[in-house]
Amino acid sequence: MIKVSIKNLNLFYNKVQALKNISLDIEKNEILGVIGPANSGKSSLLRAINRLSENDYARLSGTIILDDTDIFTIPINDLRRRVGLIFATPVVLPGSIHKNMSYGPKLHRRFKGSELDEIIFNALSAANLWKEVKDRLKDSASTLSGGQQQRLCIARTLAMDPEVIMMDEPCSGLDPISTAKIEATMFELKEKYTFILVTNNTKQAARVANKTAFFLAGELIEIDKTEKIFTNPADSRTDGYIRGKFG
């Protein structure tokens, strides 16, 4: 089943075109890896899907369909609840771990009794962070380590009960152990969610992604099963990038 379908997407910042006629489909419960050198439009793609690009005064054309609905007809708050975004640098909001976790859910509805605590427990457990923070939910979130903060950001997104989770180089600032933990989390969560993983680390895409898309200078060069992209890509530029010849 197709979860997100993008057709003829163009995106401009002023006169600079960041995405050029992109069309791709993302299957439900799969991880799509997006690779490509800097300025290839990977982040712009994510920011277009949850309409964050509108804050950058970007101009868009084309369609993005989420479950048969054009995203531009979905109320923006609702869209962003359904499509979560994890940034490259973990940014925790000032305040406690609990406050970080409850911020998103509280924006969307009211909670009774222990309902919210249950959501927080589930989200933190799913992000493999519960054991480490269960006794310090009232502590400032900035006391966590970088890897823990990134998992908190993932948990914070999970608490919104999203359908699609987009990650923009989520491990770029993390050590290998934290990276492994986050990749393991993604693997476990694939059953329930659809992932779009932008990464500068091609090996990471090879490890976790079902499908991989290669972007170059705003164009989608090719998209295919990950094994195919990494062993026998159709385009020589994909091959060159994966072998580290440029980018």
């Binding site: 804050n55 940014v91 998103g104 400032s140």
Partner: protein, 280 residues
């Protein structure tokens, strides 16, 4: 042959000059405070703080002026804080860099540079006479509010600008609207900065003479309502000294004034640190 100073000597000279400058500043400050305290602290007593003013200030205490200062300042802060913070939020979040922003910022900066006596005259003509509020706590408070709004706008603006853009993005990406983001992320994060502006405002309001003497008046009665005329501590001190009524009482009043300003600053910074320790 040229005479050169070695890098080490150079450092020592630079250090000494900077230290000297700092010392001069601090010594002048402590000298003023010390001088006032030396002349005033002996006059202080519980009676001085809690008694009515008698014989134009030659006898008795300064309770009416303490109350007057308190009410005028509180009134000014209550009016100025929401207006100042609201303006700053509007300027930074809604008019970023536009023509309106520049015009209002320029206006606020000009307002901050206007001598307080001008505010006093304005308050007298507008609040006291035109709006017929008379010499009163309301007139004085409104005048002080107009005077300290620019300070609050400026400091709040800087505090809001200092909130990382990423905090806003997080809020948006979690489905927050602009207002949610401002109320739940931007303002709480910039609270310490805003509080600094408010403290500066309190400091200016408490110490102000020219702006209140024309607007709050100089009555020595205990204020009974917001329409009572009152004499703030700074004005009381000014009149005692200027008219040669009683220099010892003048110094005692000045001592109380300085202690209040120090206390306000001390308490506010303690509160801020507790807040910061909790959240950052």
């Amino acid at each position: 042959m040229t005479f050169r100073i070695g890098p080490r000597t150079n450092q020592i000279i630079a250090y000494s000059i900077l230290l000297l400058m700092t010392l001069i500043t601090v010594v002048v400050l402590f000298f003023i405070i010390g001088y006032v305290f030396k002349n005033g602290i002996g006059q202080l007593s519980l009676e001085f703080l809690t008694d009515k003013t008698r014989d134009m200030g030659k006898e008795g205490g300064i309770l009416p002026s303490i109350l007057g200062t308190f009410f005028v300042t509180i009134f000014a802060i209550i009016i100025a804080t929401p207006l100042g913070v609201g303006s700053a939020v509007y300027l930074v979040e809604y008019t970023k860099g536009g023509l309106i922003h520049r015009i209002i910022s320029f206006g606020a900066d000009c307002l901050a540079g206007v001598p307080s006596i001008i505010f006093g005259l304005f308050g007298f003509i507008f609040f006291v006479i035109k709006l017929n509020l008379g010499w009163s706590i309301i007139s004085g408070g409104l005048t002080l509010a107009v005077m300290i709004i620019p300070t609050i706008i400026r400091t709040t603006e800087e505090a809001i600008k200092a909130v990382p853009h990423s905090f806003r993005e997080i809020s948006y990406s979690l489905g927050g609207g602009k207002l949610d983001t401002i109320l739940k992320v931007v303002l709480p994060t910039s609270l310490p900065g805003i509080l600094t502006g408010v403290i500066l405002g309190i400091g200016r309001a408490v110490g102000e003479t020219a702006a209140v003497i024309f607007t709050a008046g100089s009555s020595l009665g205990i204020p009974t309502s917001a329409f009572s005329s009152t004499r703030t501590l700074a004005v009381h001190f000014y009149i005692l000294a200027r008219e040669g009524i009683s220099m010892p009482k003048a110094y005692a009043t000045a001592t109380v004034l300085i202690i209040i300003i120090l206390l306000v600053n001390f308490i506010a910074y303690r509160l801020m640190h507790r807040f910061m320790a909790k959240y950052y």
